[in-house]
């Protein structure tokens, strides 16, 4: 790096005469590098120069050099340099209190380099305490307190946006210093000295949200992960009781923006594919390698934002409002952004794209849940890959949380709040992708059910995603329980759901031998049958009309063979001693009403057709028989049909989330590993400002 790089501050460097007697040897080195070298040689270059630190932080930081030098050091060498590290750290933190933004940025940059360098060493298990090495035990409390206070000051005060942004980046560097976030002892100081309020403030502010929202949400999400299973993480507590509606809405909008970016990318991609016969052919060939790659990449990047969404929904009860808080994509009332702020190009692009994106949806108000449902529909199309599988799983977990929430349900069932949710369907051999040009505006729950039906229909494959199926059924079950409890009669074509579920049963039975080796198919079947039981016994409370109840019977009678086979299969496993004996027995129990219906009506239908000399009956005729024979049928009321186990992260999902956080942590770390480009821009900008 040449001296030219230091740009606007170059003229200042000549004032500084810091180095002692090494002028001749290293003429080509940057001034700062020479100072660093002095540091790493154990010297204290500040001695005898009162202005040394003021001047040092005016020089452009060379993070690579610092990190590389630390990397080179041995464990012992590190310990020897402790005093110097401490001094540098201390002075860097101290200079954060200064007015000059360039100094502040450089100080932060120095801190980043120190933290990254030293933490990297610690992964090699050197057995020294990082805090001691960086700050020194004695000073750590006050220094870190000062540091966090400064950062809060930057985030809340009247500072250039780039500085705020860099503060957030610094926090991210600090947070992702270790691979396992819970082992990052430095974060204790962030726990003690909260940055929560500053983050929330920025989320609530429309101007800052555009540029800082993403990082703010990131920092918050990551901080929530810190030792979340062992200790009372104050960020968890604070996030859970956050009731600042603006901040929550801001949070939701950040998530929504990123998810819709993904959706749009997908949309343009599929549009390209459909644009012509030749291009589609070409794409098909191309798709085999390239786009798949790209897709996975983008999905992976969204793990983090999904996690943010998850934490907000899981922890905060007020977030549901923000989730369904509809907003118009084009914000007509956007105030002119303040002249000081210059938007980073990436975000700028997003905004403009969002502004004049596809016109069809431009005027249609949307909300986070709509976007999320669309996103889920895309992600769920392909679950073969582990990363995507996990992503889909996280989607389903979030949907489970939503479906469990009474308030969310009441919003989703509100007939006045209708949305068009573009759900994407996977092209499959046996069906064409229906491109629904005109989507009807419906309550959100209808789209949720559609999504579940679609999932059920499209994942009957060899690599059976058992876990996802269980979650999907759980979501359906939860929604039905809400409808039953609150007596909401949703105008929904339930027949599609019944058909999908029966098909699922059929698939499970036909692949019994393969599936039984890996999964407990009886639990799955029991869940399916229980959904039917809910309809059969409590249909009066939530079905839209009497005909739909008749249709339910019709479907069961029509597909009686499936249920018969299921019963006999379950019976088989109950008679033989084995792993699944109990669950199989439970399944037979659960089938009692369905079998009662079949046994009651099948002879009636048969005799009716015999009496009328008809070999096959039309649907209407069967329905007629069904209607006239209800009264002689008695059903058994089953216990706990409307009970479900509440979702709980702690014991069951811990490994999943630990793993997820670890991989996200790595991603974030990578994204903030090289801030020098940004650093440069920022310095340029700040030198203009100041």
């Amino acid at each position: 790096m040449s001296n030219e790089a230091s740009g606007g501050i170059k003229e200042k460097t000549h004032v500084i005469l810091l180095r002692k007697g090494s002028n001749s040897r290293m003429a080509l080195k940057e001034k700062i590098v020479q100072i660093y070298e002095a540091f790493f040689q154990g010297e204290d270059p500040s001695r005898g120069n009162a202005n040394f630190w003021d001047e040092l932080f005016l020089l452009k930081v060379n993070t690579q050099f610092i990190e590389a030098e630390i990397e080179k050091l041995s464990g012992e060498g590190l310990l020897n340099l402790k005093e110097n590290f401490n001094l540098l750290f201390y002075k860097a933190v101290e200079s954060l209190n200064q007015e000059n933004p360039i100094r502040i940025i450089n100080a932060l940059q120095t801190l980043c380099a120190l933290i990254r360098g030293i933490f990297r060493k610690s992964t090699g298990n050197y057995g020294f305490d990082i805090i001691n090495l960086l700050i020194g035990f004695d000073a750590a409390d006050s220094v870190m307190q000062n540091l966090v206070e400064s950062i809060n000051h930057f985030l809340t005060g009247d500072f250039p946006c780039s500085l705020k942004q860099f503060s957030l980046k610094f926090l991210l560097v600090l947070i992702t210093a270790t691979d396992n976030i819970s082992q990052n002892t430095m974060l204790e100081y962030i726990m003690n000295n909260s940055v929560f309020e500053s983050l929330i403030l920025n989320l609530g502010n429309q101007l800052f949200r555009l540029q800082l929202g993403h990082d703010a949400v990131l920092v918050l999400t990551m901080l929530v992960q810190y030792r979340k299973y062992e200790s009372a993480n104050p960020y968890i507590v604070k996030l859970s009781i956050l009731d600042d509606e603006l901040a929550l809405t801001g949070y939701a909008q950040v998530v929504s923006l990123l998810l819709s970016d993904f959706n749009r990318d997908y949309q343009t991609q599929t549009n390209e594919q459909q644009s012509g016969w030749f291009s589609s052919l070409a794409n098909m060939v191309g798709n085999m390698f390239v786009p798949e790659e790209k897709k996975i990449e983008s999905v992976k990047a969204n793990d983090l934002i999904l996690l943010s969404l998850y934490e907000a929904i899981h922890l905060n009860r007020n977030f549901i409002t923000a989730l369904t808080h509809s907003h118009t994509p084009s914000t007509a009332t956007t105030p002119p952004s303040s002249p000081v702020l210059s938007k980073p190009p990436a975000l700028d692009l997003q905004v403009t794209e969002n502004g004049n994106g596809d016109e069809s949806t431009a005027t249609q108000p949307t909300n986070l849940l709509v976007t999320f449902l669309e996103y889920s529909s895309i992600v769920m199309q392909d679950t073969k890959d582990t990363v995507r599988h996990n992503n889909a799983k996280l989607c389903l977990i979030i949907l489970t949380c939503i479906a469990e929430d009474q308030y969310a349900n009441s919003l989703m069932h509100d007939v006045n709040m209708t949305f068009r949710v573009p759900l994407h369907r996977m092209p499959m051999r046996h069906r064409k992708v229906k491109v629904e040009k005109y989507l009807t505006s419906r309550p959100l729950v209808a789209s949720l059910l559609d999504l579940m039906v679609e999932f059920t229909m499209s994942h009957m494959m060899k690599l059976f995603p058992m876990e996802l199926y269980l979650r999907s059924l759980g979501i359906i079950h939860r929604v039905l329980c809400y409808q039953k409890k609150c007596r909401v009669r949703l105008q929904y074509p339930w027949k599609e759901l019944w058909t999908a579920l029966i098909n699922l049963l059929k698939f499970v039975m036909s692949h019994e031998t393969a599936l039984i080796k890996k999964h407990d198919i009886f639990i799955l079947s029991s869940k399916v049958v229980n959904v039917f039981n809910l309809f059969v016994t409590y249909g009066d409370t939530f079905l839209p009309n009497p005909n739909s109840y008749d249709e339910l019977y019709y479907e069961i009678i029509r597909m009686h063979q499936v249920f018969d086979n299921l019963y006999s299969m379950a019976l088989r496993y109950t008679t033989t001693e084995g792993e699944y004996k109990d669950s199989a027995a439970r399944l037979t129990n659960n089938l009692v009403n369905v079998r009662a219906i079949i046994n009651h009506f099948t002879p009636k239908v048969d005799s009716w057709s015999a009496a009328n000399n008809l070999s096959s009956l039309t649907e209407d005729q069967v329905l007629e028989v069904v209607r006239s024979n209800y009264d002689t049928l008695t059903l058994k009321l089953q216990d706990n049909l409307d009970q479900f186990e509440r979702y709980s992260e702690k014991p069951k999902e811990t490994p999943f989330f630990t793993q997820l956080v670890r991989s996200i942590n790595c991603d974030v770390k990578k994204s903030v590993s090289n801030l020098s480009a940004q650093h440069h821009d920022m310095l340029m900008e700040l030198s203009h400002v100041s």
Binding site: D141, S240, H325, T333, P365, Q406, T418, G539, Y549, N640
Partner: protein
């Protein structure tokens, strides 16, 4: 001997008493100030009156003197200095008998002599030089040793200043009071005065003052008597004989706002105008408000009237934010027609700007003089000075709590600190994304002092410079801009979802110090808009929408504290909060190092605490309002509680039956139709809707929670609607007064500009079109469906309601020539009343370029007649009788209706006045003044007959069906 000499002489004697009484006034600050005020207003009225009448009187000076003498005779002898004070013992104010032949004296035989004397004395003061007699009067006044009286005298003439605490006088003047109190107090002051002259004892004076204070409160309740007194008061005021018939009218019991307005409009006499301008102060605010459009229109169009009523408007604007806003809106709306503002008609715009620039505020304490810089658009200097020195004029009768001055100054000092916050607030005003769009940055009401005032029941006045009108104006503006944005969307479905989204945004900024202007009195704060309940109404180009608003009632919207925000799902704050408090405790002490272990300690923390599902209350809510009649419902409870393994059996047939019963059960509502979302929303009974929204609202548990609704219209001129509202209101009161059981429903209209406004929705009513479309029945069948068989009590009641309302509206339609009467514009409410809406085509204006599509007198179809049991039935005859009675009654009171319309016609470009003056003439003709009652009956019969058989009505309905799909 000049008057000033005399004054001096007279003043020397009572001065010790004066100073004593001034100290006692300090003791009884409140009551005295009120009496002083009453006095003051009296004086002011008299002043201006004299001013107004001066010229005319000057011309006939001799006559004036004569009158003066006459009137002086009325005074009890005891009050005259020549007679001895001893006589005062006998002079009981209420039993004074006048020896006069004057008419006025006859009416007011129990009027207080000193009142008479006082008002006289002021006119006298004004004209000191003109008459010898006045010297006498002056003496009398001074002799009274009434402290406040002499104070004002001193001020007035600038003659004497010794012995009187002038500062105190200003102090007293400063306080504000209701107009009614004024007269009431006057009476009591009189009795006090007599006592005083009797004993001259400061102690008893003090007592009397207290007595007066009490009386003030009593007299506010007794507005009627106060008014009576006020009339008597006025009667004594220098009536020039030339106008005596007019004055007699003005002072008679019959004199009311409608007379005042029409004389204000018709009289070209400046004296009469300024008399009436001053008389406005004596009317109740509500009476005035009813005629506000007329007042405003005259203000805009008639320069001379504007001068006369300017003080009143300015005064009201100072003390009422609501009045300011309404006036500004109306000024804006009616000035729109003024094409070229000239010096003659620019006063409307000027006043509007004056109001909107927030220059009309209640004068700040201590800074009395700062006010005098206030620009008055049209006023000659002398009138202006009257206005300026009159910061203490009556306002709403409710303001009995006045903050003491020390309070006010306390806040005043504080205000400098809040300045930066305030600047910030103005930046965010109207920006909905900030969450503080309707926050004017005023912190006066959140200060600890305000809290204290709140607890002690005192009112907190805003003393910071925060814009007072902004929150409300911004709120209405944002409602309107939503309407504008909706117009751009093509389909109703898009509009609905957009509306909901926009309102959700608006919601972020609530609660705020805003209120619904449509409500009778803006004494509430809007806390939430249940945005999913809002619906777009049926209209092709314009996008009017109906929204519901949750409000919390309060004592005073301007000064009560704004309720704090409660989030949507209130039930969601649970244990985690306690957790946090514990956490903070831990954090508070110990070194950070120690806290490492603190986290370790509380390992029992688990995330279930953050999100425990205790919120099943929502479900409980839902269950509560539904009968748990089904077995399945019960069985869940039993299955969860009891462990009995006894299997429960249910019959499938029962389930099916319950389901179909549930579906077919009459629900009193329509299914939601995306193409006509308003039908379902409007059909739902209001009470049910209120209950439903209340249950789901986080504010619903508050006792002062109310639900209100409003239709926001933009792109439509509602000025005609407003006119019809006024006429309907007038007709309603006429019919009520005449005991004619006609029923009409004047729904309130707020005009916010010449193309936007708000409409009060008619509750529990849907249009005939919607009924036909959704129920697919004839009107009579629908009646039977809704109210029961034709012989049932309910049906008969509904039928009677129908007939009474139908007759009422037929008359309205005839008199006002209401056109465009298709079924979409006729509503039917839950009691069977019909209500006509949409008065876009009235008087000279009808749809289709005035081609006369609907040439029948009113819309009366056979379908309507069918509901009335058909032609010739008893009900139908009753209908005709009602119409006749209604017409006769309205003819009798025609004078109350015509001026309303006539004044609005002045300078108006409204289409309903397109035929100019003939519009009013034909309106007058429709009252058929020349017909006998028999002839009238014939007329009604004919009109009914021809309307029933009108071909054009059918044609027009057909036309509407084909063009707009209206059934």
């Amino acid at each position: 001997m000049t008057s000033s000499e005399l004054m001096k002489v007279e003043f020397e004697a009572p001065s010790p008493i004066l100073s004593k009484s001034s100290s006692s006034i300090h003791n009884a600050a409140n009551s005295v100030s009120q009496s002083a005020l009453s006095f003051y207003v009296d004086r002011k009225a008299a002043d201006s009156e004299v001013n107004g009448n001066y010229q005319s009187m000057e011309s006939d000076k001799n006559h004036l003197e004569e009158r003066m003498r006459d009137t002086l005779h009325l005074l009890p002898n005891g009050l005259l200095p020549q007679e001895n004070q001893a006589k005062l013992h006998q002079a009981k104010p209420h039993s004074v008998h006048f020896t006069d032949q004057n008419n006025i004296a006859k009416i007011c035989d129990h009027v207080s002599p000193s009142l008479l004397e006082r008002s006289l004395s002021y006119s006298a003061v004004e004209q000191t030089n003109s008459s010898e007699l006045l010297h006498v009067t002056d003496q009398t006044t001074v002799n009274q040793t009434n402290p406040d009286q002499s104070d004002s005298m001193i001020q007035d003439d600038g003659l004497v200043e010794e012995g009187v605490d002038v500062a105190m006088a200003t102090d007293i003047e400063y306080c504000v009071n209701g107009g009614e109190n004024v007269e009431g107090v006057g009476m009591d002051v009189v009795s006090m005065e007599t006592n005083k002259t009797d004993k001259l004892d400061p102690k008893s004076l003090q007592l009397n003052l207290h007595h007066v204070g009490k009386n003030v409160h009593i007299s506010t309740c007794d507005s009627k008597s106060a008014k009576e007194r006020s009339q008597m008061l006025k009667k004594t005021k220098v009536p020039p004989p030339r106008q005596s018939w007019l004055l007699r009218l003005f002072e008679s019991k019959l004199f009311d706002m409608s007379i005042a307005i029409s004389y204000l409009f018709n009289s070209k006499e400046p004296g009469v105008q300024s008399y009436l301008g001053n008389r406005l102060f004596s009317f109740r605010d509500e009476e005035i408000d009813l005629y506000l459009p007329q007042i405003v229109n005259m203000y805009i169009q008639m320069h001379d009237v504007a001068e006369a009523i300017h003080p009143y408007i300015v005064h009201r604007c100072r003390y009422s934010i609501e009045f300011s806003i309404h006036t500004a809106w109306l000024l804006g709306a009616y000035s729109a027609d003024v094409l070229k503002p000239t010096w003659k008609n620019s006063q409307g715009i000027k006043l509007k700007n004056l109001i909107l620039n927030e220059e009309l505020r209640p004068p700040p304490p201590k800074h009395l003089k700062s006010d005098s810089t206030l620009p008055s658009p049209t006023y000659p200097k002398h009138i202006q000075s009257v206005e300026v020195t009159a910061p203490t004029s009556p306002t709403g009768s409710k303001k009995t709590h006045i903050r003491s001055r020390s309070d006010a100054t306390g806040i005043y000092l504080k205000h400098s600190e809040s300045q930066p916050a305030l600047l910030n607030a103005i930046n965010v005003m109207g920006d909905l994304t900030t969450g503080r769009a309707f926050d004017n940055g005023c912190t006066c009401h959140t200060s600890s002092e305000a809290m204290f005032n709140n607890l002690t029941g005192r009112e907190t006045l805003c003393s910071c410079e925060a814009p007072r009108l902004m929150p409300e104006l911004e709120f209405v503006k944002s409602l309107m801009s939503i309407g504008i944005r909706l117009q751009l969307l093509p389909t109703k479905e898009l509009r609905t979802s957009r509306l909901i989204a926009e309102l959700a945004m608006l919601n972020l900024n609530l609660p705020a110090r805003v209120w619904l202007p449509i409500s009778d009195k803006g004494i509430h704060h809007i806390v939430r808009i249940p945005h999913t309940q809002a619906v777009v109404l049926n209209s092709k180009e314009k996008a009017p929408y109906l929204l519901y608003v949750e409000v919390l009632e309060c004592e005073n919207a301007a000064s009560s504290q704004v309720p704090s925000k409660i989030l949507e799902n209130t039930l969601r704050f649970t244990r985690s909060e306690e957790d946090l408090s514990g956490h903070y405790c831990n954090r508070g002490n110990g070194s950070p190092r120690g806290e490492f272990s603190v986290y370790g300690n509380s390992t029992d923390f688990d995330d279930a605490d953050c999100w425990s599902q205790e919120d099943d209350e929502i479900i409980q809510f839902a269950l509560k309002c539904r009968p748990s009649d089904t077995i399945s419902q019960m069985s869940t409870e039993s299955s969860t509680s009891a462990d009995s393994k006894e299997p429960v059996y249910i019959a499938a047939g029962d389930i099916r039956r319950r389901l179909s019963e549930n579906i077919t059960a009459p629900k009193g509502k329509f299914e939601r139709d995306p193409d006509d979302p308003s039908a379902a929303a409007l059909k739902e009974p209001w009470e049910e809707k209120v209950r439903r929204i209340r249950e789901s609202s986080p504010y619903g548990h508050m006792p002062n929670w109310r639900l209100m609704s409003v239709i926001v219209k933009c792109g439509d001129d509602l000025r005609q609607e407003l006119l019809v509202y006024q006429v309907l209101k007038q007709l309603q009161s006429i019919w009520r007064q005449e005991h004619v059981p006609l029923w009409i429903f004047p729904y309130k209209i707020i005009v916010t500009s010449n193309n936007s406004g708000m409409i009060e929705p008619v509750l529990n009513a849907i249009s005939l079109h919607q009924i036909k479309k959704h129920s697919k029945m004839t009107l009579r069948d629908y009646f039977i469906h809704e109210f029961g068989p034709p012989t049932s009590e309910e049906f008969l009641t509904a039928q009677r309601n129908f007939v009474q309302s139908c007759a009422g509206y037929c008359l309205v339609c005839y008199l006002m020539q209401v056109k465009d009467r298709h079924n979409g514009n006729i509503l039917l409410d839950a009691n069977g009343h019909i209500i006509h809406i949409d008065f876009g085509f009235i008087l000279s204006n009808s749809p289709g370029k005035n081609l006369g599509f609907e040439n029948s007198a009113f819309k009366l179809t056979h379908e309507f007649a069918e509901v009335m049991d058909g032609l010739g039935s008893d009900m139908f005859e009753y209908f005709k009788i009602l119409m006749l009675q209604g017409l006769v009654a309205s003819r009798k009171h025609m004078d109350k209706i015509l001026p309303l319309v006539e004044i609005m016609q002045t300078g108006s470009q409204l289409p309903c006045f397109s035929k100019g003056v003939s519009t009013i003439r034909s309106l007058k003709e429709r009252f058929h003044l020349n017909l006998t009652e028999e002839q009238l009956q014939l007329l009604v019969d004919n009109m009914v007959e021809s309307s029933l058989h009108s071909l054009t009505t059918k044609l027009y309905d057909g036309f509407q069906y084909y063009t707009n799909g209206i059934l």
